[in-house]
């Protein structure tokens, strides 16, 4: 079997693409009852296995950004609560008052039943009416406190959510540069959108309700004991069963929900691809593929939902018995106790009323527990962002001058696979160095090390004698900047989009100056709001050339003495070259430039040229020197100039 690439035949698959869901889960549940149960259990078990796999894969930091443990989440929430003691106390008080008021009404009405069933007083109805009016008063108070409690919950919940999401974004903005370069945006986007939303739901909606329900349950239990300790005995059964059931549910549920959340992340990212690639889909006739991809992702999500639904279903069986059976017990105990003269009819009536009143708060507790659970799962993904260890430590060294020197650099993305093998460079300030060589030879990696994005496995990059990895980021940025092909326009004002590197200090004059340098001052001045014009997605739209000018103005304002241009071809993309080449040359003037070049004419114009092949600098010198040597570069140049 001939193959043009090594391992091609072995890895080629003749199998048509299949669903991510294993066939076993497609098996129809049919046959006799025993067989049905067997198939169901088998599938349930398989879903559990898959959920665990996904959960642990998610936790391993290999995949990018980790997930923290529940302890961290609890500590985080506790801290949020501690800093809001006032609102929390008021909220709980209002809840307790509302719950107690909610208990008084039935007990008064229960007393009333006792009264009317035993009285012979001719004016009994007047007493009944009076009592009813009082009860209405109690209910009005209950409603008022209910409202207060809910409103306070909203205030508290919203505040907590706002702070947490801001915390999340701040930790995103603190991610180590090397992590940012490596991590998948899909994962981060899911975290800052879906997980933030789920956590918000958990905190804003569920947590207050959970508190309310828990308070109500507690108060009701106290009221029952006060009513008759004998008739309160069935509550022991309730508490025991609830504890066992929820503990088990939380153990399986956490894993199930994390797995579920991952599947929604997957739906999101493939949908994003489809929407953003709508044109590609149309051009290549991929409609059926993309529909299949999403449908299959949905299938996976459906399987995960099935698993957690089954867990919930099981939980609700246990919970249902936990709070409903005591009613039966109370009747039997009551029947016996009444015979023994231990309890009155009124006590029995009140006990059954209390037990029935327990139904909704317990139900609510369980329902919200589920949400709190999801909220915690999301929060553990969110707080995981902050758990990424920093990749640099400030050494306190100060660069003495602008002299950039790289010594004996080795670097590996995967252990044991060095992509750089002892590269050294000494850049004279103001010089222009072109790095050329075939793709995959390590040019971009070298650029990243020079700019202090990644730390070399061994060797150092020093600027003015200081190790670049030891410089604080905001200092580093004004020394060396890596210019890649990305020129994202942020949602924000034009000023916001430019002052990046010197956001704390830049004045409007400096901003205008930077705009003028890249020849963009004119069109910005013509905008009605000038520097305050909102740009970015959903706002004033820039032409590609304007977007590039903005990207260049950022660098002009940052004013690093050394620029590493990686594939800057794309920054100056050919569709706009004419509009921005003046801006580009203005930016480069007077700076040390390392241009990782695709085009040899770039090399031709540079002071010196480094030819990088297979992670080594194989040739180094000026254009003429290298041509004279007659090596690799000369060969390339010949091919180019023909």
């Amino acid at each position: 079997m001939s193959e043009l690439f090594e391992g091609s035949a072995a890895s080629w698959s003749e199998e048509p693409p299949v669903s991510q869901v294993p066939d076993e889960l497609y098996e129809k549940i049919e046959g006799g009852p025993l067989k049905r149960i067997r198939i169901f259990l088998k599938q349930h078990h398989l879903r559990w296995e898959i959920a665990q796999q996904k959960y642990w894969a998610q936790r391993s930091p290999k995949l990018g950004i980790p997930v923290t443990d529940n302890g961290t989440v609890v500590r985080f929430i506790a801290k949020l609560i501690r800093t809001r003691k006032g609102v929390v106390t008021a909220m709980i008080l209002a809840n307790v008052v509302a719950a107690v008021a909610g208990l008084i009404a039935p007990s008064m009405l229960g007393g009333l039943v006792d009264y009317v069933s035993s009285t012979t007083h001719p004016d009994a109805m007047a007493h009944v009416s009076r009592t009813c009016l009082i009860v209405i008063g109690v209910i009005v108070a209950q409603a008022a406190f209910n409202m207060l409690a809910r409103a306070l919950s909203a205030v508290f919940g919203q505040d907590m959510v706002a702070e947490s999401r801001e915390h999340v974004i701040r930790s995103v903005l603190k991610l180590p540069v090397s992590t940012v370069e490596a991590a998948s945006t899909g994962d981060l986007v899911t975290r800052v959108t879906r997980d933030v939303a789920t956590m918000s739901g958990g905190v804003r909606w569920a947590l207050p309700r959970f508190v309310i329900a828990a308070v109500t349950v507690g108060a009701t239990a106290v009221a029952m004991v006060l009513n008759s300790w004998l008739l309160a005995l069935p509550l022991v059964f309730t508490a025991g069963l609830l504890a066992v059931a929820t503990r088990r549910y939380l153990r399986f549920g956490t894993i199930g929900f994390v797995a579920e959340s991952i599947s929604y992340g997957q739906i999101n990212s493939s949908l994003t691809e489809t929407v953003e690639g709508a044109r590609t889909v149309e051009a290549l006739n991929l409609q059926a593929n993309r529909v299949f991809a999403t449908d299959d992702d949905i299938e996976v999500a459906g399987q995960r939902e099935t698993f957690t639904a089954m867990l919930r279903s099981e939980l609700f069986v246990e919970v249902g018995f936990a709070y409903r059976l005591p009613l039966v017990f109370a009747l039997i105990i009551g029947g016996w106790g009444y015979g023994q003269g231990l309890v009155t009819i009124g006590q029995i009536t009140a006990a059954t009323l209390y037990l029935q009143q327990l139904v909704s708060p317990i139900e609510l507790m369980i329902m919200t527990l589920n949400w709190v659970q999801r909220g915690i799962a999301s929060a553990s993904r969110l707080l995981g962002i902050a758990a990424v260890p920093p990749d640099r430590e400030t050494s306190g060294e100060e660069p003495a001058d602008e002299h950039l020197v790289a010594t004996d650099l080795y670097f590996a993305y995967r252990e044991g696979h060095d992509v750089l093998h002892g590269v050294s460079l000494d850049l004279t300030p103001g010089e222009r160095l072109a790095v050329v060589g075939p793709s995959g030879g390590g040019k971009s990696t070298l650029g990243r090390l020079l700019a202090g994005i990644n730390a070399p496995r061994s060797g150092t990059v020093r600027v003015g004698g200081a190790n670049v990895m030891g410089l604080p980021l905001d200092k580093l940025r004004t020394e060396v900047a890596l210019v890649t092909q990305e020129h994202h326009v942020f949602v924000g004002t034009i000023r916001d989009n430019i002052v990046l590197a010197r956001e704390a200090t830049a004045t409007d004059e400096q901003t205008w100056e930077a705009l003028a340098t890249v020849e963009a001052a004119d069109w910005v001045r013509k905008l009605p709001k000038g520097l305050d014009t909102m740009i970015g997605s959903g706002h004033h739209q820039l032409t590609p050339a304007q977007a590039q000018q903005i990207a260049l103005a950022r660098l002009v304002l940052a004013d690093p003495h050394t620029l590493v241009l990686d594939e800057a071809t794309s920054l100056i993309d050919p569709t706009t070259a004419r509009h921005v080449e003046g801006a580009m040359s203005a930016l480069l003037t007077g700076r040390t430039v390392v241009a990782i070049a695709h085009r040899l004419h770039t090399a031709h114009d540079a002071h010196r040229i480094a030819v990088v092949i297979d992670g080594r600098i194989v040739e180094y010198g000026s254009h003429d020197d290298l041509l004279a040597t007659g090596g690799e570069y000369a060969r390339l140049w010949d091919a180019w100039t023909n």
């Binding site: 209910n146 701040r170 590609t280 071809t569």
Partner: protein, 674 residues
Amino acid sequence: MLGFPPTVKAYTRRVREGGCARLDETLTQDGPVPLSKPASSEPSGEVGGRPACSQVKEEVPDVRGPGRFIWWLIARQWKIVLLTGLVSLIWLLPGALAPYLLGRAIDDGITSHDMGATLLWSGLLLLTIVLSVSADSVQIVAQTASWIIALYRVQKLVVRKVAQLGHVITRRVPAGEMLSIASSDSDSLGAVTEAAGRLIGAFVSFLLVAGMVLATSVKLGLALLIITPLIVLGVAPVLKPIQKAQLVERERSSRLTGQAVDIVAGLRILRGIGGEKTFGDNYARQSQRVREAGVKVGTWWASIDALSTLMSGILLVVLTWMGAGELLGGRLTTGELVSFFGYAVFLVFPFQTFFEAAQKWTSGVVSAAKTIGVLGQDPPWSAPEPSSVILREAAGSTSVAAPCSLQDLASGFVAEAGQLTIIVSAEPDDSAALADRLGRYLSATNISPDEDEDGDSKARRAEKAAVRAKIAAADAAAASGDWGVCLGGVDLGQLPLDEVRRRIVLSDASPVVFAGTLQRLLDPTANHTREQCERVLCITSADDVWESLPGGWQGHIDERGRGLSGGQRQRLVLARALLTEPEVLVLVEPTSAVDAHTEARIAERLPEYRMGRTTVLTTVSPLWLRHADRVALLVDGRIVAQGKHEQLLADNAEYRAVVIRGEGLAPAGGEDHE
């Protein structure tokens, strides 16, 4: 104990089959109409071992209004909605029956010191509890199913809409909005359908209880039936302002989400150059605005909650008061009064369900309005006149053997049949626009939805709809009639769009690489051999991609080709385009991110591969130009010169200027920009 009743299996089956649009056999109950005619010419829409989704009959949602759309969603899954209602009823039953059974146990058993009767009635109570708990376990599953079936349906409809409209949809609806519909609006629509089922159960249980009360006491029963609707009606007016407040909250929080996504998208720059504080602060500011709006909504809901407590409490008192009167009058027993109590307490539940459903409906309407904003978009293309079919056959659309020429009337550009023609322009936007026209793509528009988030929502929505309608009308106008580009002498407007797409493949400047294996990336439709795939990888000189990717053909490419360099991505995209083997291939700047050495290799191999087939390319790189059969110079939208590269270079000063500039050897300064 956990014998899963048939309903559960029905659900699990549904979910299982949901993977391929066969969410529910009931889906296609009212005359399905194909949503999109797959442009594929292959009769087999098979993707994978199971039938592909495109094969499944598609459905057309009712997009005439948000309410209608929600009804349509519910109607699509009426079986599961009804099932939810039914099980929630069975689950509620003990709640409804318990007061009666309790009353009997107290009256006949406890008060009469009859342990046997106590046990009997308690036993019956136990039975209803067992029934209720089993129903509950099913209910949980049915509710989830009801929710996610609607959620998934909306997501599937969105992805199908995007597939149907292709580049046209991005002209009308911002990508972010489509994604937020798929991720969050779908969820709130799921919530509505789920609540609908429970609402049915609550309503029926209300009627049942009212009936039981009526049976024991007409007076009390009537009171119950009259007071309850009044309460419900009393709360309704409060729902309006909530809806408004919710809209504001939603707008603000979707903007907030947009900012978060924006930060992530530009994170490399933020961490590379700086600006963390500026954008962190911008986010925090918006986050606080969301908080304010959220507190407002929360306060409104607090008042609804309070009203609900108040109303159901008063109902309880009134019933007790009347019941006490009846008891004193000797028309009621103690047990019966206890029952009434129970009924009144029980009725709180249907109330709560009602309010919850009202809340879900309120946010569902908002989501539905956004959703139909996308699903209601129609393709601008109209089917060609039947007479053109004859023309088409005359043009030999069925025979691939004879290559066709491609001619643009507006610019005067002609790509001769079977040749490699390169468009050169100093303004690359111009050549990209020409390429768009050649491929029958609507020109890129600049939708600038400068949204004012707190503006009157209804007016804004109408405005947004008007803008979209305007674009849609413009699209339709541009798409109807003759297109102005002829393929083999036939205007593209005379050909069905899917035929155009099949015969002319346009690879634009920024195509998307989809996540998946390398094999699937190159050969998404699984109809090429390994040798063919190897060959295009060779032609595009992508050996380095192969080597850097562990796992060979099964090596995984991340979403959007992240992890590959720009050059690697571009070469894979080119290989993928080549593999479609179209009659006419139009490539826009296919190697702009590729290094010179590699570009030279590709430029050498590609013409050979496309030998005898019509190929159009836009670039200014001499490495390509020297391989062109013909070069056309585009200036201000017109072709001003044509010929061989060498000849143009010698004769045409303008051409020379453009090509030399393209080389980057700017005469003045000699800066090393590219």
